[in-house]
Symmetry: C2
Subunit: 228 residues, 2 copies
């Protein structure tokens, strides 16, 4: 087992059978010690964050599997904080796909002239480039196609998958009395045909969930979802 990549919140190992192993770390993104799912820097380390993130990811990836929504998920080992996944190649150097139900975060920072904080949004999907140096700029369908990152046909699949996945998460959260404000997903291509599948994780680290008008921290989200 060979370490091939050290990420902000995960390490990636190559397995002998061609699959990969993700090890979830206790580091979460944020700034100045405050958790922020939209941040590009590791802001703090929270004991148990890795396992909590993995538990929720396992839960959601298995729900998606039941609904035949394609993901890179193979299996998870909570004790080891590891998840086995199929090999996937990302689009370009990596994209983030955001689905928004409320105007908060970077959406509000960009479109505050037209949107009020917390205003409902109709499962609005947008794509940003993973590029820390340039603060993850948003990119349009046309630009993705022109720059050879994602074809127009793939964009349509990506958008539909994003909405389906976000809807599953939103519904699951609602059943526990929480509201999903937004969620950030990553996708990749797998297999010879380049099927588009969800990769990475689904946990408190990449969504904003609220309960009784109050933001739910990542560890608390896992607790409310799986032990509530």
């Amino acid at each position: 087992m060979k370490l091939i990549y050290t990420g902000k919140t995960k390490d990636v190992y190559a397995l002998e059978d061609g699959n990969y192993l993700l090890r979830f770390k206790d580091d979460v993104t944020g700034e100045n010690g405050v958790f922020d799912p939209g941040a590009n820097t590791v802001g703090l380390t929270m004991e148990g964050a890795g396992k909590a993130g993995l538990r929720l990811t396992k839960y959601f990836f298995e729900r998606l599997q039941e609904k035949d929504i394609p993901t890179h998920y193979v299996e998870a080992n909570i004790e080891e904080a590891t998840m086995t996944v199929k090999p996937a190649s990302v689009f370009g150097k990596g994209l983030e796909v955001i689905c928004r139900y409320r105007a908060v975060g970077s959406f509000l920072r960009r479109y505050g002239l037209y949107a009020e904080e917390g205003q409902p949004l109709d499962a609005f999907v947008e794509v940003t480039i993973k590029d820390d140096e340039r603060q993850d700029p948003p990119i349009s369908e046309d630009a993705l196609d022109m720059l050879g990152i994602l074809s127009t046909a793939e964009y349509k699949v990506l958008k539909e998958l994003t909405r389906s996945i976000a809807d599953v998460v939103k519904t699951e959260l609602a059943a526990k009395g929480m509201e999903l404000y937004d969620i950030k997903l990553e996708f990749g291509r797998i297999g010879q045909e380049g099927q588009i599948v969800l990769i990475d994780e689904i946990s408190g680290g990449n969504m904003r969930a609220y309960k009784d008008g109050k933001y739910v921290e990542p560890l608390e989200l896992t607790r409310l979802m799986l032990e509530g």
Copy 2:
């Protein structure tokens, strides 16, 4: 004749017949005394810039008229540095539509991870919000529709018009030995049916033109186009 708006590069007056009069000023956008068509601040005053901008605008708007491309243009008075236009309402609080043939400026600042400086782009169209406070953020077709700024059907018209107009300008410049790198246009709705038309101006102040690999300043652009 009543002054109703003082802009960065123009003043706007209401005429008795319902039309508007734009007075072109000698102020141009830029920063620290250096001209930049993408800037939000008036960077410098160049004697004759207003008339030069108007002369080129008149020239291009009349070429568009010949090609039945709709604009708000009625007539121009070069001596007075004024242009009479039909009343138009802008989309939301104003949008800028950019057509790009080369990767420079804000495109490169955003997508430098995937594009090299000066790389050819295939008449790439993007829309930004006029919002000085938020540095004119780019906005997608979906977001424009969702925020009630521009419908998806209108977006298609806007994109086609932008490409047609940019192509006219590019061809005219090429005939004078210049290359158009990018151009920034503004549109509005006129009449009961809300027909989408080009508004504002087409001059050196809202495009980047190059000759023999060297940037052509706005005043020089007018000279090369109309006196060359």
